[in-house]
Symmetry: C2
Subunit: 392 residues, 2 copies
């Protein structure tokens, strides 16, 4: 059927043409004025995306590098932290915390569910010496949004830092750092930012910077205080990923062209479209409430292995979804619709999924499922600003 | 004079067109077969460049990240290491070692000179508990090649690891890891490899892997044992810089087209050309022997500030050289001719340098300096293989 390749994975995401052309440019030098100009322009846009008045530092690493930067720059060995674990990336916070010798209290959450704020309060009441809460804004392995805003309210007047992995939230759904009392927000380039992987970002609140100053043994490569000094002067501690930085600057121009709210609006509406679409073809979204924008996890019907579906979608239609991770392997498939995806791409995704799964199991398909999905998209676009921003 | 921009910096270096086009491609997913195919192909070529039968691991970071990986994966706090410090990057080994709590013995070398092997022996005899020697193959801040081969011979039967920063040597001048008894060799993408910064590489000898297994507290992001397990299966621990990996694979195809020896030959000949050229225009190379291939440091005549020369070269001719670092700031300029540079580019560099410096100071310029420089290049190309490979 001569289908173009389409990547519907929750990172990396498809890259706009202008951004790819930016990557193709001859390199410039990172200690010269033309780099400084780009880095300065990028810096302003990142603040808008992070919703902060503080600096957003850019690191040359995967998102995990910035997660390590958060843990190693903000806590000393033996300090107690609460880690919310409801998926693979919660587990990553836990692993990093262990590796740096922290005293980890784990709050397990059923995979596919958001953490309950009361449970967080309970643990904090029980362990008065907790110095930080580590959590995902969006847990990418399941597609759940944790209630960051509400946890931020709980922690506001406490001597506890709120450390948020926003890698699959920033630039997709609202996660305003300052407004929500987030003390450390981590981002990655290959999700909402629409560039290939290799850059991460991190921003700290004033409270977090104070804490960082008290840490005796800092990471060398991920040295946030050192990096802040350098980046103030539009330089980096070490040679940065120049091409990716230029690409990011261009990508954010595209992203912010109509304002950040329109980015959220698009992703909200696409999320509504996919959920409607998969429901109308007789499938079930795994996450019923507090679901991630930009990513929809779909439960596989009994007897259907998600991996077979992924392979068949690739072979038949050049469509790439992601599978379940860890204990969800084979049991769900994950449709990424973050970054540079539009509703027509998603028409293909929904049709292809129906077409392939029908070969494995009888589905209860609604005759006008596609009309319904597109209608859901159109309706969702009409949401008013206040409601949109209060959805998360 | 309508001059194109030319970057003569010792990293980043100019990127071949085919490599830049590779960067401009739509992204692929790092857990799928098309990525594995590329990564497997890259892996073989990296072994050739590193001169090793062992795996060369690819990390998403600057070269400094791989330096941190070496220190943090091979030594425990309080272990004694000898660091050779003859420039800014020697100092970096020292800083990283301090940061990870190692007991650092420093062997200072005059900036612009190579370390003497006898001095290394002396220190090793005095401190029998030294567990590693940390050194640069090429010290980029001055343009000196340290005698890695000879140090390798000294350490061969000792219980001491030889850790070499080969960032501005690999793919430029010979640095065969296995033949020279190097236990850990570190590389970076933005020098001889001809890609934009953001990727580093590291390879360990069997002896080094044994040592790595004994380390209790490993870095998380730079976890070499974990990374080795993953990369055996053509995967990475964390989302890698996919675009840069594809670019590197393409760049190495170009680099190795006529064999690695021809790469060395070109860089040797260009080095001869630049040294001849600057001498014939009446300037003096800072490093008289054991000089780096691919980088020539030029002493500024009395009363001339290197920074002024750099600015004027940029303004007048769009030519970008690097300045001196640390205590050499203003006193030297550094002409990078590593990576994708040819002799015609360098004709421009030599002419422009003469033209600009003459406005600041009277130079004793040889009338046919350009002829002489080109002749030096041509002659150097004729060097026989055995001599070429024994120059370092």
């Amino acid at each position: 059927m001569f289908t173009k390749t389409r990547l519907f994975t929750p990172g990396p995401t498809m890259i706009p043409e202008e951004v790819r052309f930016e990557l193709a440019k001859e390199t410039i030098h990172h200690r010269k004025d033309d780099f400084k100009k780009i880095f300065g322009s990028l810096s302003k846009k990142l603040k808008e995306l992070f919703g902060t008045k503080n600096d957003v530092l850019v690191l040359t690493s995967s998102g995990t590098g910035a997660m390590q930067a958060a843990v190693s720059n903000l806590f000393s060995p033996k300090e107690k932290v609460l880690v919310i674990v409801g998926g693979k990336f919660g587990e990553r916070w836990k692993e990093i915390s262990y590796r740096f010798g922290l005293d980890v209290i784990e709050l397990s959450v059923e995979w596919g569910k958001a953490v309950e704020v009361d449970k967080v309060k309970e643990v904090l009441d029980k362990h008065k010496d907790i110095k930080g809460v580590l959590i995902q804004a969006s847990e990418t392995s399941t597609g759940v949004l944790h209630p960051i805003k509400d946890i931020g309210k709980v922690l506001k007047d406490k001597d506890v830092l709120l450390i948020v992995d926003g890698i699959s939230a920033i630039g997709i759904s609202p996660c305003p750092m300052d407004k929500w009392n987030i003390d450390c927000l981590v981002g990655g380039g290959q999700k909402g930012f629409m560039i290939p992987p290799g850059l991460s970002m991190i921003s700290l609140s004033d409270k977090a910077w104070e804490k960082a100053k008290s840490i005796k043994k800092r990471d060398f490569y991920f040295d946030l205080l050192g990096e802040r000094e350098k980046q103030k002067n539009l330089q980096t501690l070490f040679t940065p990923a120049i091409a990716l930085i230029r690409a990011l600057n261009k990508a954010l121009d595209i992203l912010l062209k109509n304002g950040l709210e329109e980015v959220y609006r698009k992703h909200w509406a696409l999320t509504c479209m996919v959920r409607e679409g998969i429901t109308r073809i007789g499938l079930e979204p795994m996450v019923k409430e507090n679901y991630t924008w930009g990513l929809t996890s779909v439960l596989m019907p009994k007897g259907v292995n998600g991996q077979d579906i992924l392979n068949e979608l690739k072979n038949r239609y050049n469509i790439v979804f992601a599978g379940g991770q860890g204990k969800l392997k084979g049991k769900i498939i994950r449709i990424g619709h973050m970054g540079n995806v539009d509703w027509i791409d998603l028409m293909g995704a929904i049709f292809a999924l129906k077409d392939v799964i029908q070969d494995y199991v009888k589905l209860d398909v609604c005759a006008d499922f596609m009309e319904k999905a597109i209608f859901a998209y159109k309706m969702a676009l009409k949401i008013d600003s206040t409601t949109l921003l209060s959805l998360v």
